[in-house]
């Protein structure tokens, strides 16, 4: 097990390096001169050269890359935003919490709704409930998140006035954005749970339990779910990335002050240091979560042995 984790982490390192190089190149491949953007366009050529020297922009790219990574790793310094001229890391720390809360709340919706629909569909296979559940899930997968969000906002905030339309604050602000974000994953979890439960229902030990005269729901709860949920847990974990990506869109709909809306604002204003930092951060988060999911799969499933 330990050696598996070590190997998995070691395998991730080259990937991380490539991703960081790509994100590093964002500032250097894109139009716009960092010196002119940061210090204004009217500085004299002499001052321009001096600043360029001072910022280290005359060094070869690999030296600059090394310095960039060193700053991130040792000080958590992602540079200065072109737009606000303030430290990117501070803004990220302030907004990270919002995105995490939103993502986790969505995951909660997704798991609760997805499991319920999936289990009901599987146990009542080929009934109207099963059909209804599956039609709903495929529809949910075809609905653009932002539209679903706008519709929820329209119904619950504008027409009924039960919940705030947008912004952040109390728990009531979290309900609509998290429900919106959770919809797609809930549908995936539901479909996956259904097929996983159906697989286990065919097992001999379930038949034995049934032959023994145990009640239907007891079988499902104690015998079936135990093994059916292991792949579901893994698959749900892997959906975390989808949620992170989706958060970008949903935050924009509900004006949720997280990293996603920060990213879009920065793209629209060509604030490359921020884009650079966020792209790196999102993919690192994603890779780390996937690693954790892989490891937890081993811990959860006794059949898996890492040689």
């Amino acid at each position: 097990m330990f050696s598996f984790i070590v190997r998995r982490v070691a395998g991730m390192i080259p990937l991380l390096i490539v991703v960081s190089i790509i994100s590093f190149l964002f500032v250097h491949l894109t139009p716009g001169d960092p010196i002119r953007v940061l210090y204004g366009t009217e500085i004299s050529p002499a001052a321009y050269e001096m600043l360029k020297q001072k910022e280290g922009l005359n060094d070869p790219l690999y030296v600059q890359y090394g310095r960039y990574i060193k700053k991130i790793v040792t000080q958590g310094d992602f540079g200065i935003s072109y737009r606000t001229k303030s430290n990117v890391s501070e803004e990220i720390v302030r907004r990270l919490c919002y995105t995490l809360v939103l993502t986790l709340a969505s995951m909660l919706w997704a798991v609760v709704i997805g499991l319920a629909v999936g289990i009901i569909s599987a146990t009542k296979r080929n009934t109207i409930w099963d059909r209804l559940g599956m039609v709903t899930t495929i529809t949910a997968l075809s609905i653009p998140e932002f539209w679903f969000g706008l519709m929820l906002m329209q119904i619950f905030a504008v027409q009924l006035g039960w919940l705030p339309t947008s912004g952040s604050g109390g728990l009531e602000h979290l309900i609509l954005p998290s429900l919106t974000l959770g919809l797609g994953v809930a549908a995936i979890v539901a479909r996956f749970t259904r097929s996983s439960v159906l697989d286990v229902l065919r097992e001999d030990y379930v038949r034995t339990a049934r032959a023994k005269g145990q009640r239907g729901w007891v079988i499902v709860m104690t015998h079936v779910l135990r093994s059916a949920l292991i792949p579901v847990v893994t698959m749900t974990g892997l959906q975390f990335g989808i949620l992170l990506g989706g958060a970008v869109v949903v935050e924009q709909v509900f004006a949720w002050p997280g990293l996603g809306s920060y990213l879009i604002d920065s793209i629209l204003t060509r604030d490359y240091p921020v884009i650079q930092a966020l792209i790196l951060l999102f993919s690192v988060q994603f890779l780390v979560v996937n690693l954790l999911v892989d490891v937890s799969y081993g811990l959860l499933n006794p059949q898996i042995r890492y040689e």
Partner: protein, 516 residues
């Protein structure tokens, strides 16, 4: 008989496919959508780029009937007869908010014109009698009911000197409720005390400034206090011979009670004005028209026909879906074939590149590409293509690995067929079925991602009739309205759902494990 035993694979596929009702319906829908995309410029009833108001004249549509309404006004005389508005001569009209609606006299009727969104009230007055009706423009009802009419009566209109009686008052609100008696009216006034009284403009040049602040509650005024005196509770006392009237007013609305002391009433006077309707609905034709026969999906914030925009937007949306997935699938399939067939370092290199692309979660890969290239429709297509590539590499590589094991591939190799030919003739067709399935499903996803990107404002032209951009504009400009956001989104859902269901159907039909 032999044919019965082993029908052609295509026929098996067709049989299996036709058995899937949903998939067949979806295929039909997709064909319809493609037809709409091709024919959109001819199908669209209006030009999607211009406000419809400019187009009415060319289409011979009388736009006026939408934005104005005529209301018949009648006057109830003190002798119970009813007069037409025309015969009154001195009817004045006053709108509480001319930005929203204005009114003018035209023969027997009053014509009300909508000028802006919202709701307001129009006060009619003839002499001392005044009534009011409500105007709601573009369905923006503020939910407030105004006092429309007052109905006051006494037991006897001809009094002896010194006689006393109390007036009975009833108020009618614009929502149709009746408040009978002083107590109910007092309760209403108290409840609405916080609401600003509806007053006509203080000085509108027509001397119609009768309404004052204190008239918010119910008031009684004797027109000639020498003849009749009246208390604030409606108690009337005849104090001198003559003919007069008591004016009852509430919140600008008033009615008259004609009274005569020691003599009969001579000529009937106007006691009350009755508009035909208490509240009228109008449409502001300059923006946000709700769905109607003329505009099936309504109009947007710039008064462009949403139905036409949705139709024309089909083209751009499908273009993003088809082109980006075709590019992505072509590159992905090519690299997947290479990786699967040649293996070793080429495989390792291609797969590591795929890992890098897959390290950006979900839509973020496409967003990152846009961040590099800048916003624009071509860049969206490119971004979605990049987003599609790694998935195709993975599935085609997997499929290639299994087809490579087939005996016929081994046979072809052993007789010295070139690698290039084996790949094209023997392996690629084997992967085609799974590529077809993913191609269909990915078009749905690509449309979703493309719409999301243009919703985020990364599509460049935000005024273009593209579904995502339309939703983005609706979110910013029509927050409180349902129709500008509903219809473009519905178009996306129907299209994506069709592709997803068709993909599901194809997968089941092509799956050899699935027996009939």
């Amino acid at each position: 008989m032999n044919q019965q035993k082993s029908p052609s694979p295509f026929r098996v596929f067709l049989q299996k496919f036709l058995r899937q009702r949903f998939a067949v319906i979806s295929l039909g829908l997709i064909l319809c959508i493609i037809a709409v995309a091709l024919l959109a410029p001819w199908l669209a009833p209006y030009d999607p780029y211009r406000p419809v108001t400019d187009q009415y004249a060319a289409k011979g549509i009388e736009a006026g009937r939408l934005t104005s309404a005529s209301v018949k006004v009648e006057a109830v005389m003190s002798d119970g007869t009813i007069k037409r508005a025309k015969e009154l001569g001195h009817l004045t009209l006053d709108s509480a908010d001319r930005q929203i609606a204005s009114a003018r006299k035209a023969g027997e009727n009053v014509i009300v014109n909508a000028n802006g969104d919202g709701s307001t009230a129009i006060l009619l007055s003839a002499g001392e009698a005044a009534s009011r009706f409500k105007v709601i423009v573009s369905g923006e009802d503020n939910g407030q009911a105004y006092v429309s009419q007052l109905i006051a009566d006494v037991q006897q209109h001809s009094l002896e000197l010194g006689a006393e009686q109390t007036a009975k008052v009833k108020a009618v609100l614009t929502d149709g409720t009746e408040l009978a008696g002083m107590n109910e009216i007092a309760a209403y006034v108290e409840k609405n005390a916080a609401m600003p009284a509806i007053k006509p403009a203080a000085n509108d040049g027509f001397g119609n400034t009768r309404v004052t602040d204190d008239s918010h509650g119910l008031t009684f005024t004797s027109l000639e206090p020498d003849v009749v005196q009246v208390g604030s509770d409606g108690a009337i006392k005849a104090v001198g011979a003559g003919e007069t009237a008591v004016k009852v007013s509430l919140d600008g609305v008033s009615t008259l009670i004609p009274l005569a002391v020691n003599q009969p009433l001579s000529k009937p006077i106007v006691t009350r004005l009755v508009p035909e309707e208490l509240a009228i609905d109008l449409i502001n034709r300059y923006k946000h028209q709700p769905p109607s026969g003329m505009h099936l999906f309504g109009t947007d914030h710039q008064n462009r026909d949403i139905f036409s925009r949705v139709l024309v937007g089909t083209r751009e949306t499908l273009l993003i879906g088809f082109v980006s997935v075709s590019i992505g699938a072509a590159i992905g399939t090519f690299l997947g074939l290479l990786a699967g067939y040649y293996g070793r370092w080429l495989d390792a290199l291609i797969m590591r590149c795929t890992d890098v692309l897959l390290a950006f979660p979900g839509i973020l890969l496409a967003i990152a590409v846009i961040a590099l290239l800048g916003p624009g429709i071509v860049n969206i297509i490119f971004a979605v293509a990049v987003f599609t590539v790694p998935i195709f590499i993975r599935i085609v590589r997997g499929s290639t690995l299994s087809v490579k094991q087939m005996t016929y591939v081994e046979a072809a190799k052993s007789i010295g067929v070139k690698d290039r030919v084996i790949l094209m003739r023997h392996i690629f067709p084997g992967t085609l079925s799974i590529v077809m399935v993913y191609l269909t499903m990915r078009i749905g996803t690509a449309i979703l991602i493309g719409a999301s990107l243009s919703f985020l404002g990364l599509g460049g032209d935000i005024t273009a009739p593209e579904w995502g951009a339309m939703l983005s504009a609706a979110k910013d400009n029509s927050r409180n309205l349902f129709h500008p956001t509903f219809f473009p989104g519905l178009a996306i859902v129907v299209t994506v759902l069709s592709f997803n269901l068709l993909g599901d159907g194809l997968r089941d039909a092509l799956d050899p494990k699935l027996k009939d």
